[in-house]
C-alpha cells in the first residue's frame, strides 16, 4: 500500500544536484533541477552501484558519476546502458516540503 513520507525542505538539496535519503529500509536518491522540478529514483546505479545522487543532472536526465550511464528521470528508462532505474512519485508542498510516495 502506498505510503507518504515527508523528507523536509527541498532547499536542503542544492539546485541542480541530488542527495540520498534513507526511508525505512530503502535508499532513495532525490534530485532538484534548476527549474525547480523534483525527481526520486533508486539510490544506486544498476551498473556498478554508483551513487546516482552524485550524478550530473539535466532537465529530466541523469548521468551516473562512475561510468556515465544515463537515465530518463521521468520514466527511469536507460538512455545509454542496458538497464533502467526505479522511479518514485515525489512532490513539493507549498512550503517547499518534499513528499515522497513509496509502495
Amino acid at each position: 500500500m502506498a505510503q507518504l513520507h515527508k523528507l523536509g525542505p527541498a532547499a536542503q538539496i542544492p539546485e541542480g544536484e541530488g542527495r540520498t535519503f534513507t526511508v525505512g529500509s530503502r535508499q532513495v536518491a532525490v534530485f532538484r533541477t534548476r527549474a525547480g522540478v523534483v525527481y526520486a529514483t533508486q539510490a544506486e546505479c544498476p551498473h556498478r552501484k554508483g551513487p546516482l545522487a552524485d550524478g550530473l543532472l539535466g532537465i529530466d536526465t541523469l548521468v551516473c558519476p562512475l561510468h556515465e550511464w544515463t537515465f530518463d528521470l521521468t520514466t527511469g528508462s536507460a538512455k545509454t546502458g542496458t538497464c533502467g532505474v526505479a522511479v518514485y512519485p515525489i512532490r513539493q508542498e507549498a512550503d517547499g516540503t518534499l513528499v515522497l510516495t513509496l509502495d
Binding site: H5, K6, L7, G8, A11, Q12, I13, P14, E15, G16, E17, R19, T20, F21, T22, V23, G24, R34, R48, K49, G50, P51, A53, D54, G55, L56, L57, G58, I59, T61, L62, V63, P65, L66, H67, E68, T70, T80, G81
Partner: protein
C-alpha cells in the same frame, strides 16, 4: 497528399540502399515502394560472397535485409520476378508471370553480371554458360561453384583480378587444385603495379595456386557432359574439370536500352543520377556517370545519397561528382590497399616506395603537388586509414614522407581486422568486443559517435578510440559517415572551442546555465556541463559564475570518487618533498579516521583512499596542507628527481624548480590534466620526457622543455619545445604553453593529442617565437588566472552549497 508510386528494379545493394536513404529523408511519407528482384531472396551483401565461398560465413549471415524487413517497411517485394520491359509512355513496369506495376518514379538498379569473353565452347546452345562453367556474381553462383568444386580434382579460374583471386581462394578451400589464367602479365593489374603483382603472385603460389599470366584462353575443351580442359592462344592446353569466369563485369543495361534511354556501357546518368527520362533514375553498376561505371561499393553509397536527396526534394543542390577509387581488401590472407593510379603519369609526379619481398611488404605512393594521387600498400596496412582519407579529401600531405609509410616509434604490430577474433575485447574500459561493434553497425549506426553511444566503446580512457573508429569503418564497408559534432567543443552546441570562446565573450555568458539558455533554448545536456564549466572558468577566471551543479562530483567535493562512492585525499607535495611534521600529521589523520589504504602515488605524493564524504572537511583540517588537485581536469603536480643538491650527477636544481612551478600553476583548470616533472640531468629519473610538460637540466646551466609527453593509456615522448638559459625563462615559457593549451584544446584533450594536432612547430612559433604576437596577452591572462585560484579545501570552513559534504540526508522510518 496522395503518395507517389516508386518502383525499384533490382533488389541488390544499390537498390535497397537507395530505398533506405530515401526513407532516411522522410520518403516513407512520400512514396509507396515496390521492389523487383530476380533472385529469390532478400538483399544480401555481395562483397561477402567470397566468405560464403570459402566457408567462413554461412549464406544467412550475409543478408542485409531479410524478407520481414520489407513487410515492416510496407515495401511490396516481387522476389524471383525478372522485369521484362519498361513502358515509359504509360509508366508501367512489366515483369515475368504477368506482373505489372505502374510508377511515378522509377529507379533502375539492376547491377551487372559476369562478362564472358569470346571463348569457343564456353556457352551452350542457349547462349548461357555451359555446364561446368560459372560466373561469380550471385549467391546461387556461389553455391553451384562450391557444390561442383567438392567433386572435382582441378579447376581453372579465368581472370586474375580481384574477383578471380577470391574465387580461386574459395575453390581451393574445397579441395580442388586451382589454376588462375590471366590475360595480362601481372595479377590484379587494375589495382597493382608490376612489382606488387609479382609479390602477390609469389604469395599465391606459396599457397598452392598455379598462376598463368600472359595467357589468352581460346577454347573450353570437353564434350556435352563435362569440361576436360582449356586451350590457349600460344598453343598450350591445361587439364581441368570446371571453369569460373571472372574477367570483369557487364552492366545489366538492356532494360534501359529497350525503353529508349541513353545507354553506352551502361545507362547514362547526370549528376542527380537521372537518366535521359526525368522520372527514371539509375544507380550502382548499371549506371554510367561521366564515362565511368563503378564496380565497387563505396561509389554506390555516394550515388544512393544524391539520388535520395533529389527524389525526396530534400536537397536539390546535392550533386554526385564521381568517386575516387580506393579499395582495401584481403586476397588469400594477403592484405592489400589500392587507391587511384598505379604508375606516375606526369613528369613531376613523386614516387615514394618501400619494398621488402621476403616479407611480402610493399608500399608505393604517388604524390602530385603534395597530394596523394595513387597508392599501393601490401602486407602492412597500418597507415592506410590516414592515406585513404588524404586521398579521398585531397588534403595536403605532411612533408615527412617517411611517416606516410610507417608509424615511427610507438608500439605497432596491429592485427588485421579480418584476423581479429570476434570476441576480442576492443575497449578494455567498458568491455566491448569487436563483435559488439559489428552488431551496433548492423543495427544501423554509421558514425563513430553513435557506435560509442550505443556500445560505450571508446568512452572510457579513450585509448581505443582510433581502433573503434577503424572497426566501424571496416564493418560499414566504406559507408562510415563523419560526425560533424566531432569538431564541436561539446556535442550539444555546434561550435568549435575557439568559436565558443568568442560567443561566450560576446554574449557575456558567465554561467553554465546561461550558456544553455542562450545557445540551446534552455535544453540542458548534463554530460556537457563540466566541459562548459571548464571553458567558462578559463575565459572568465575570477568573474566566472560558478554553479556547483555544473561540476563533476569530484570538483564539488574536491576529491576523486572511488568505485564505492568514497573519496581519496591527496595533499599537495611539490617535487615529492615533505617535512617530518607533515608526514606525522598525515599518519595521525590516517589513524584517527581509520583510513583503509595509504599509498604513494605515481606523482610522488601520498594518497589516503576510502574516505567517507562526511569526513573530508575534518581530515583536511587535521592534515593542514593545501589540496593537491588530484581529482580534476587541472594542473596536477610536478614531480622531481633529487637534483643538484645531493645527486653526484645533478646539473640543475630540479627540486626548487618543481616547487616554483607548482607554486605558480597549482589549482589552474585546464582541458585535461597536466602532469609535470623536472629532472636535474638527462638521466631523467623523474621521467620528464613523458610528461605534459617536462623540464630537463642540461650542461651549461640550461633547461630543456619537453611538451606533449605521456606514459599512461597512451605513450609518447614529449617534443622538445625549446632550451632555456635560466629557470625564470622556464617559468615564462611554461606559463605561455599552459595558457595557450588552456584556451585552445578541446575538453579532455590531453597535451599529447593537442600538441600532435597542432604540430610542435606551430606551438613553438606561438609560445616561444611569439609569431602571433600574443605572448604578452598570454602572460597577462595567465597571471589573472593564477590570481583567481584558491585552495578549495578551505571550503571545509565555508561550504559553497547546502550540505556540500553530505550525500545522505534525512532518515525517515
Amino acid at each position: 497528399v496522395q503518395k507517389q508510386r516508386l518502383v525499384v528494379i533490382g533488389n541488390g545493394m544499390a537498390g535497397v540502399r537507395t530505398v533506405e536513404e530515401i526513407f532516411a529523408r522522410g520518403g516513407k511519407d512520400q512514396f509507396d515502394v515496390v521492389i523487383f528482384g530476380d533472385e529469390p531472396y532478400g538483399n544480401y551483401n555481395r562483397i561477402l560472397l567470397s566468405n560464403v565461398m570459402n566457408g567462413s560465413q554461412e549464406p544467412d549471415e550475409i543478408f542485409l535485409n531479410t524478407i520481414p524487413w520489407y513487410r515492416e517497411n510496407d515495401i511490396k517485394l516481387h522476389v524471383g520476378v525478372r522485369v521484362t520491359h519498361i513502358d515509359r509512355i504509360s509508366k508501367l513496369v512489366h515483369g515475368q508471370r504477368g506482373v505489372v506495376e505502374p510508377y511515378d518514379k522509377l529507379i533502375i538498379a539492376t547491377g551487372s553480371r559476369a562478362f564472358v569473353p569470346p571463348i569457343k565452347g564456353i556457352l551452350n546452345d542457349m547462349g548461357e554458360l555451359r555446364s561446368g562453367a560459372y560466373g561469380f556474381r550471385t549467391l546461387d553462383d556461389c553455391r553451384d561453384i562450391v557444390a561442383h568444386a567438392r567433386r572435382v580434382k582441378s579447376a581453372a579460374v579465368i581472370g586474375g583480378g580481384l574477383l578471380g583471386l577470391e574465387a580461386a581462394r574459395g575453390i581451393m578451400q574445397h579441395g580442388a587444385t586451382v589454376n588462375v589464367i590471366h590475360l595480362s602479365g601481372s595479377l590484379m593489374n587494375q589495382q597493382l603495379d608490376v612489382p606488387a603483382g609479382a609479390m602477390l603472385r609469389k604469395s599465391m603460389e606459396q599457397m598452392g595456386i598455379m598462376v598463368h599470366t600472359g595467357k589468352s584462353t581460346t577454347e573450353v575443351l570437353g564434350d556435352d557432359h563435362r569440361i576436360t580442359g582449356l586451350a590457349f592462344k600460344d598453343g598450350g592446353t591445361l587439364d581441368c574439370d570446371m571453369v569460373v569466369v571472372a574477367t570483369g563485369i557487364k552492366p545489366n543495361a538492356e532494360l534501359g536500352m529497350m525503353c529508349g534511354l541513353t545507354v553506352e556501357r551502361a545507362i547514362v546518368v547526370d549528376n542527380h543520377m537521372r537518366s535521359a527520362d526525368y522520372d527514371v533514375y539509375a544507380v550502382g553498376e548499371c549506371a554510367q556517370h561521366r564515362g565511368m561505371v563503378y564496380g565497387l561499393v563505396a561509389p554506390l553509397w555516394d550515388q544512393a545519397k544524391v539520388l535520395a536527396d533529389h527524389i525526396t526534394h530534400k536537397d536539390r543542390t546535392s550533386s554526385y561528382n564521381g568517386s575516387k577509387l580506393a579499395t582495401k581488401l584481403k586476397v588469400m590472407g594477403v592484405e592489400l590497399a589500392s587507391m587511384g593510379i598505379t604508375e606516375p603519369t606526369e613528369p613531376e609526379d613523386e614516387v615514394v616506395q618501400f619494398s621488402e619481398p621476403t616479407k611480402g611488404r610493399y608500399k608505393k605512393l604517388i604524390i602530385r603537388k603534395g597530394r596523394l594521387v595513387g597508392a599501393i600498400m601490401m602486407g602492412d596496412l597500418d597507415k592506410v586509414g590516414f592515406l585513404m582519407q588524404a586521398f579521398d579529401r585531397n588534403t595536403a600531405l605532411p612533408d615527412e614522407r617517411l611517416s606516410l609509410l610507417f608509424d615511427l616509434g610507438g608500439p605497432s604490430k596491429k592485427v588485421t581486422y579480418d584476423e581479429m577474433p570476434a570476441d576480442a575485447q576492443v575497449c578494455n574500459c567498458n568491455g566491448v568486443s569487436k563483435a559488439m561493434i559489428g552488431a551496433s553497425v548492423a543495427a544501423g549506426q554509421r558514425t563513430l559517435k553513435s557506435v560509442m553511444m550505443a556500445t560505450r566503446a571508446g568512452a572510457g580512457c579513450g585509448a581505443c578510440k582510433g581502433l573503434v573508429s577503424e572497426l566501424v569503418g571496416w564493418y560499414c564497408g566504406g559507408a562510415m559517415e563523419e560526425d560533424p559534432s566531432a569538431h564541436y567543443y561539446v556535442p550539444s552546441i555546434p561550435l568549435t572551442r575557439s568559436e565558443l570562446n568568442k560567443v561566450v565573450r560576446e554574449k557575456n555568458l558567465r554561467s553554465v546555465s546561461s550558456v544553455f539558455d542562450a545557445l540551446c533554448d534552455g535544453k540542458v545536456d548534463p554530460g556537457s556541463k563540466p566541459a562548459l564549466a571548464s571553458l567558462l572558468s578559463i575565459v572568465w577566471r575570477g568573474e566566472y559564475v560558478d554553479e556547483r551543479d555544473a561540476r563533476f562530483i569530484n570538483d564539488r567535493v574536491h576529491g576523486n570518487i572511488q568505485k564505492d562512492g568514497t573519496f581519496s585525499v591527496i595533499p599537495e607535495m611539490p617535487g615529492g618533498i615533505c617535512s617530518p611534521d607533515e608526514l606525522r600529521r598525515i599518519a595521525d589523520a590516517a589513524d584517527k579516521y581509520a583510513v583503509p589504504l595509504m599509498k604513494l602515488t605515481g606523482g610522488q605524493r601520498i594518497d589516503l583512499v576510502g574516505i567517507a564524504r562526511e569526513d573530508l572537511p575534518a581530515i583536511w583540517r587535521d592534515i593542514g596542507m593545501p589540496a593537491g588537485y588530484a581529482w580534476g581536469k587541472s594542473y596536477r603536480t610536478c614531480k622531481s628527481c633529487i637534483g643538484s643538491d645531493y645527486c653526484r650527477f645533478g646539473l640543475g636544481d630540479s627540486m626548487s624548480l618543481a616547487q616554483e612551478l607548482e607554486g605558480r600553476f597549482r589549482g589552474l583548470d585546464s582541458p585535461g590534466k597536466l602532469k609535470l616533472a623536472t629532472a636535474g640531468c638527462p638521466r631523467n629519473c623523474s621521467e620528464a620526457l613523458v610528461k605534459d610538460l617536462g623540464v630537463v637540466a642540461v650542461e651549461g646551466g640550461r633547461w630543456e622543455i619537453y611538451v606533449g609527453g605521456a606514459a599512461g593509456a597512451h605513450i609518447r615522448k614529449g617534443d622538445l619545445l625549446t632550451v632555456c638559459d635560466t629557470a625564470d625563462d622556464v617559468m615564462k615559457v611554461s606559463g605561455r604553453f599552459i595558457e595557450y593549451y588552456r584556451q585552445n584544446a578541446k575538453y579532455k584533450e590531453r597535451t599529447y593529442t593537442w600538441v600532435e594536432r597542432l604540430g610542435i612547430e606551430r606551438v613553438r612559433a606561438v609560445v616561444v617565437d611569439d609569431a602571433d604576437g600574443i605572448c604578452a596577452e598570454l602572460d597577462r591572462q595567465l597571471a589573472a588566472a593564477v590570481e583567481a585560484t584558491y585552495d578549495p579545501w578551505l571550503e571545509r570552513d565555508e561550504n559553497k552549497t547546502e550540505n556540500q559534504f553530505k550525500l545522505k540526508l534525512k532518515v525517515v522510518s
